[in-house]
Subunit: 587 residues, 2 copies
Amino acid sequence: MDTYEKIIGLAKRRGFLWNSFELYGGTAGFYDYGPLGATMKRRIEDIWRDIYVIGEGFYEIETPTIGIEPVFVASGHVHGFSDPMTVCSNCDSAFRADHLIKGIVEVPDTLSAPEIKQLIDEHGIKCPQCGGVGTFGEVFDFNLMFKTTIGPGTQRMGYLRPETAQGMFINFDRLFRFYREKLPFGVTQIGKAYRNEISPRQGVIRLREFTQAEAEIFINPRDKNHPKFSMVRNAVLRCYPASHQQNDSEGGGDSDAAGDDRAAGVIELTAGEAVDRAIVAHEFLAYHLVLTNHFLVRAGVDPARLRFRQHQPDEMAHYAVDCWDAEVLTDRFGWVEVVGIADRTDYDLSSHANHSQHDLSVVLEYDTPKQVERIVIKPDMSMIGPLYKDKAGKVLAALKNLKEEDLNGDEISIKVDGEEIRIARDVVGYETVIEEVRGEDVIPHVIEPSFGIDRIIYAVLEHSFAEEIVDKETRSVLRLPAEVAPVQVAVLPLLTREELIDPSIKIVDMLRRSGILVSYDDAGTIGRRYRRNDEIGTPFSVTIDYDTLDDDTVTIRDRDSMLQIRVQVRELAEKVHAMMRSGFDSP
Amino acid sequence: MDTYEKIIGLAKRRGFLWNSFELYGGTAGFYDYGPLGATMKRRIEDIWRDIYVIGEGFYEIETPTIGIEPVFVASGHVHGFSDPMTVCSNCDSAFRADHLIKGIVEVPDTLSAPEIKQLIDEHGIKCPQCGGVGTFGEVFDFNLMFKTTIGPGTQRMGYLRPETAQGMFINFDRLFRFYREKLPFGVTQIGKAYRNEISPRQGVIRLREFTQAEAEIFINPRDKNHPKFSMVRNAVLRCYPASHQQNDSEGGGDSDAAGDDRAAGVIELTAGEAVDRAIVAHEFLAYHLVLTNHFLVRAGVDPARLRFRQHQPDEMAHYAVDCWDAEVLTDRFGWVEVVGIADRTDYDLSSHANHSQHDLSVVLEYDTPKQVERIVIKPDMSMIGPLYKDKAGKVLAALKNLKEEDLNGDEISIKVDGEEIRIARDVVGYETVIEEVRGEDVIPHVIEPSFGIDRIIYAVLEHSFAEEIVDKETRSVLRLPAEVAPVQVAVLPLLTREELIDPSIKIVDMLRRSGILVSYDDAGTIGRRYRRNDEIGTPFSVTIDYDTLDDDTVTIRDRDSMLQIRVQVRELAEKVHAMMRSGFDSP
C-alpha cells in the first residue's frame, strides 16, 4: 500500500473524500468532499481569502460557471484547449494519444496529431485496455470544454468554464472603474472550473470538475516593481530555474510526472536575490512567489516538499514573459503542480478588446504632461472635393489618420470602403505642431497566480499524515494546522455516564455558540476516542471527568504532544480560540 | 423608476451585481456578483453556516455540479423537471406556454400541454415578441436541465444539477456511517444549481445559474418531535396557512406573482401554537421555520416583509406531508419565495434505493427487544428434489420467502426464473416461531430547508435601502447588518494631504491584519466620501485628521445615526470588532 492509497483510504473512511456517484457505479474524474473534507476545503479557501482578499485588498467576484461562446473564442479555448485523442477500434476505449507514447518521446506535448499517430504505428503500441496491436484510429484534437446549450434550440452554445480567469478579464472595464481608474489593482475568484478529460486515471490529482482560486492583477506594463517588495525581499524561496532543468531528465516535464528533487537543480535564495540575479523576471512576480509560498505553508504544505519550478521557454505560452509553478512532492505522483504564477502580459485584455471591439486600454497619466510633436494633415479640399465628390468626406477622414512616414513617396495610398485610392503627394499638405500630452494609452499587463485547490488539499493531507508508535500501538495522526483542521475541538466525557454526558453537552453548546466546530463522542474507551480524533487532525480534545463535577474544570489534550492541561470551564472557549491562533499552551 | 430599477441601478454602479458577458452582448438569466456583491454573498453564506453547520452541527459536504443520468432518473428530474414551451412560427421566439395564458386561467401549472395549446388558440394569443396571432406551434415539455456529455463520445450523458440535494441523498449510507448510525442527523451543501429557463425575464429573481443552500435532515419517521423544540416554542412566526389562502385570489399562486399581504390571511402565532393547533404538521418542521426566520432576519430581511406561506394540497408534491415557503415582499415582484421547507417523507431515499438496488433503510432499535411471531417454511425436500431436479435449489429459495398469507389456498404459486410454478400445498409445511427482534427497518424521512441565496441577497438589498433628506440633500443608504456589509470600515483622511495619508495607510494595514475588510478613499470632500460609503452600506467610517497627529486618536462615524466618537488608534481594531458584534457605541 503506497502513501496515496493510505491517504485515500483514510480520506474515504473518515469522510474527507468520496468517489462521486458510487451508488450508481461512479464516474472517473469526480470526487465528493465529505463532511470533514468540505470543512477543511472551506478553511483553506478562507486562508486564501485572508491573504489575497483582505491582506492584499483584491476583492473577490463571482461570475457564472457557464460561459457563452464568444468569450472562449477570444480566450483561445474553443480552438486551442484540447488534448490529442485516439480510440481503439477493437475495444472502443478512448485514450490520450500523447500518453500512449510516453517513454518513446520525452516531450510528447510538442508533437502534432499526425506525428503522434505515426509514432504509435511505428512502435506498434498496444491498447492498454484490450491489448490489441495496430488497432488505433486517427489521432485528433478533442476539445476539453464541457459543452451545453443555453435555452431552447441549439443556437446558443454554452461551455463550462475551463478556468475562472475569463470572468475577471471580461469585467476589466467595470473593475477598473470600481478601483477608481488606478493601476495596479487585483481581483480574485474562487470557484468551480471544468476540464472534460478524455480518460482521467489519477484520482484527485486529475479531476473533471475542480476548484480554482485565481487572482488577476492588472499592472502598469512600464513598471513591474512591487510597492511592497521591501517587505518580502529577504524571504527565502526554493527555486528550480529553467536553466537548471536542462541537464535533468525530467526537465520541462508534465506536471504529474514522477520525479525526485535534484539537489543540484533546486536552489534556495531570497526573493531579492532572485530578482537581482534575473532568475525571476521582476519584483511583481517574485512578490507573488513569496505570497504563494506563505499561503501553501500556512495551509499545511511541508516546506521541504515544496519548490518553485520555472517554465522552460518552449513550455511557456508564447505571450508569457515568465512563469513559475509551485510544485509539491507526493509519494505516488512525484512533483505535482499546484499553483501557476505567470506574467501574461497584455494577451488576455488585447484578445478580448479585439474580439469584442471594445477598447480596453487605459490612460497612464504622466507625472508631468509631455510636449509631443505631431503632424496635422492639411488636405487641399479645393482639389479633393471635385476629385472624389461624395466620397470626399471618407477620403478626408482616411487622410487625417495618416502618419508622418506615410507621406514619404510621390503618391499617398489610402483605403476607402476596402478600395485602394492613390493620391498625388502634393494634394496633401501637413504641418508639425507641438501638443501637450497628459498620458499614454496602454493595455495593462496581467500577473496571474492560479491555485488548484483540490491538489493542495490532497498535498496537505499527505504532508500532514504521520504514523508513530505510542504505547506499542501505531498512532495515525494528521498534523494539520489548527486553522485547517475540520473539527476544532472534540468533547469527550471520560465515561458514557449520564452525570458526565449532561455537562459535556452543555460544553458542546457553549463552544458552538462561540463559533467553534465541535464534535461530541462518547463511544468507546477514551484512548480510542483520542485516536479517532488524532486520525482526522482534531487539534484539541476536551475531556469531562468526575473532577469537572467538583471544581468545574476540564482537561484540554493537545493532538501533537499528547500533553494535557486543566482549565476552568468558563475560560474554555477563550482558551481554545487563543490556542488555535498561537498553539497549545504547554503545562 | 420603481424600486427594482433603483436597486439594480445602485447594484450595477457600485459593483454589487452586473449582467454577465456584457462585453459580448450578454445573455438573459446570468448575473455576475461584483466586488461588493460577492463579498456580501459570502458573508450571508457564512451566517447560514454559522447557524446550520456550527449551530445545528449539520456538516457541509461538496458534491459535483455535474451529475450522471441515473441520479436524475431516480430523482424524477429527467422525466418531470420541465416547463411547457411553444415557439412562434413567425419570429422563432420561444416562450413559456403557461405564461402566455396567465390572466386567462388562474393556475396554469395544472394544465397539460394540449390544454394550454387549446387555450392559446381559442383566445387568439398574440406573440409578445412580434405581435403575430395564431402563430404558435405545439406546446411541448422542455426539460430544464442543462445537458452535456462526460468524456469523449456521446454515451455518458451529464446534467448540471437542478438542486444540490441529490448529492446529499445519494451519499446517505456514507453519511449515516459518519454520524455513527444514529438519527436524526443533518447535512448541508452550499453551491451552484442550474435551471435552463426557456426565456427568463425577471433579472436576478429568475436565474439560469444560481446558488442554493440546502440542508437535508434525516429523521426517524416514527418521531417528528424536535429535541430542542422547547427553545423555540415561544418564537413568533408570521404564517399564511393554506386554509387562509382559499379566499384570496392569489392563493396557491406562482412564487413570483405580484400580490399584497392580506391582513386577514396572515396570522402571527408562536411555533408552539402552530404545532398545537395543527397548523404546522409537527415540531420538526416548526423548529425549522423558526430557524429560517432567524437566519433571514439576521441576514437583513425586514421582518415586516417576511411571511411563511403554506403550500396548498394541490400545489405540494404528492409525497410531501407539509411544505412552507418563506416569502419576502418586493416592490416589483410582490411576494417572492426565497426558502422552501418541506417534509419530503421517504420519497428521495426510497426512490434512490429502488433505482440503485441498494438498501437504504436503517435499523431503528427498540428500547427493549420485541417478541415477534414469524413463520418458518419447511418444504418436504424428499418430494421437491425429485420433482424439480436442478431447479430444486431455486424452488426452495422461492418457497422460503413466502409469507403466511401465501399459504392459504390448495396450491402455492412461486416464480422461478420468470416462470410460474404451482406446487401442491401439502408439499410445504411450516411452523410458527417466536423471535426476538431488536429493532425495525425504516427508511428515514427527510426535512429539507432549501434556500435561494441570490433572491435573498436581492431582498436584503431592497429591504435595507432607504433614502432620507440630510442637509437638504437626499442620502441613499443601505442599512445592512454590520456582519453583512461588504466593506466593514472605510478609512478616510480628512484632506488629501501627505501628512494625513501616511497615517491613514498605516491604519488600513493594521485593520486588515486584524481581519477587517477595509476600503481606503481620499478623493473628494469628506461629506461625499461618507455618502459613497453610506450607499454601499459601510457601517463604520474612520477619519484621520490633524488631531490624529497630535494625540493619536481618530473618529469613528456610524452609518445609521451619523454620530461620531473619538477613539485611540491602538484601541481601534478591537473597538471595531466589538461594534460589529454589538452595534455602534453612541457617545
